[in-house]
């Protein structure tokens, strides 16, 4: 695998994420449109669907907030990871920021000086080793409005799923229209404070059609989605039946004294893309159909 080839393919992946919604999200928005009865909520969903179509056709950013960009790299244990991977990811973000363009969203946290899109911890790159011979590379551009509605709580162990349910429903109600609902709610459970926060965000990479492999957790995902939609916040908070498109929960084991829980919501413009790099250096896009 050559550096130039990788940069070009990552740019293609990121452009896809920024311009075309994954099919499962589009389908969920269309279902929501059919389900809503008020003219105000239908008007919002109609704008989302129309906007997404034009963005994809014209290769334009779906939302002006092109987000902070996170990469998730799963490296097969049979793969020798090139040392320049992270620098290629940074280069791809930097070049696409000019070419598309992406909005310069990165600032110094305290001085608030605008830095473009590449800086300390940006883009975020998470690398983990998994069994296999491929590299799986996922990208998640995420806007500030939805990220601002995130939270972390260290629950008492006895609070269990019921405590997590209460926390999540309160958080969704309290966020109202601010995270651009209908959202996808990512919940990270376990690990420690840092792991739970990372799991909550990573949960947003999962398709709306897939449920957690643990039947109890999968049931919780379905029930929480139904309860959240009973809140009546609706698209953009104007009222309605669709407040969330789905709930994705990821779980790790944790310390005997702790129950860390983090919540991270993705806006309706739930941008994500994923590709596989085979051991032969071939690229295959998983989240989007590519001609």
């Amino acid at each position: 695998m050559q550096e130039e080839v990788l940069v070009a393919q990552v740019k293609k992946l990121l452009r896809m994420a920024e311009t075309c919604l994954p099919a499962d999200v589009l389908e969920a928005l269309r279902e929501a449109y059919e389900l809503e009865s008020s003219s105000l909520s239908r008007m919002q969903l109609q704008a989302f669907i129309e906007n997404s179509r034009i963005a994809c056709e014209g290769s334009l950013p779906i939302c002006q907030d092109t987000g902070m960009i996170s990469f998730y790299v799963s490296v097969g244990d049979g793969v020798q990871l090139p040392g320049w991977l992270s620098s290629c990811l940074r280069r791809a973000v930097s070049e696409l920021s000019e070419e598309m363009p992406l909005r310069p969203n990165l600032v110094s946290a305290l001085g608030r000086q605008n830095l473009g899109n590449v800086g300390a911890c940006a883009p975020q790159v998470w690398i983990e080793q998994v069994p296999g011979d491929n590299i799986e590379l996922a990208v998640l551009p995420k806007g500030g409005g939805s990220e601002n509605m995130s939270s972390l709580a260290m629950l008492k162990p006895w609070e269990g799923l019921e405590g997590i349910r209460r926390l999540a429903l309160s958080q969704i109600q309290n966020s109202g229209g601010q995270p651009c609902p209908p959202t996808i709610v990512g919940i990270g459970i376990g690990g420690g404070a840092d792991v739970a926060a990372r799991l909550a965000k990573k949960a947003l990479l999962r398709s709306l059609k897939e449920r957690n492999g643990d039947p109890e957790v999968a049931g919780f995902e379905r029930e929480l989605k139904e309860e959240a939609n009973a809140l009546g916040i609706g698209p953009m908070g104007v009222g309605g039946r669709t407040t969330v498109l789905g709930v994705n929960v990821e779980v790790c084991d944790c310390h005997v004294a702790s129950l860390p829980v983090a919540i991270n919501m993705h806006c309706w413009a739930a941008r994500r893309a994923k590709m596989i790099i085979s051991s032969q250096g071939e690229f295959k896009f998983l989240s989007h159909e590519v001609e």
């Binding site: 105000l40 109202g176 806006c267």
Partner: protein, 221 residues
Amino acid sequence: MAEVKLRTPISHEESKALRVGDVVSFSGEFLLCRDKAHARLLEFACQQRPIPVRMEGIPIYHAGPVVRELDRSLRIIAAGPTTSLRMEEYEAHILRHYKPRIVVGKGGMGKRTLEALVDTGGAYAVFPGGAAILAARSIKEVMGVYWMDLGVPDALWHTRVEEFGPCVVTMDSTGGSLHERINSESLGRLRDLLSRQLPSSGVGASACQNLPLKGFDLGRN
């Protein structure tokens, strides 16, 4: 609920007549203005310094655009609204001092802004969040950009729009607020939902109602 087409500058009578639920489109001048530009507008007001654009009757739009340079002119290619509540610190002062009369954004604003809308006969409207390409298609021209030292998203973008909409009025000069209504209704539903517990709740919750679970309430969040 009425469908209204407004042309800027918007008069006091026009903004005062708007009601929650009205669907509005705007044509004419439009000011894209968010966090840092709000802070600077307020700073200039305090120092009694002139600002580079006229604001009376010109809607403020909470948005930070994606901008492309084409043939030495600037084109806005994506410009959906940003979360308005971040501007709550500033907006009441700005409505009173500069009299834009209309604020457009997403997610709604708080009590201080609502009071200022009542006092000044203004209205707040939402544009569908994230619909950045639809918004940009109505922005026909960048008439000027000021305070670029604040960065592209935070600069003051003076634009010309045609039929910018659909904007839905959610806060009006009579003190009506769709956001307050949805918030109190959904809070009521949340309380109903939380009055029940999952059947699978741990530590025999149903048998031990006076034990630890009772200590959990909405306040912790």
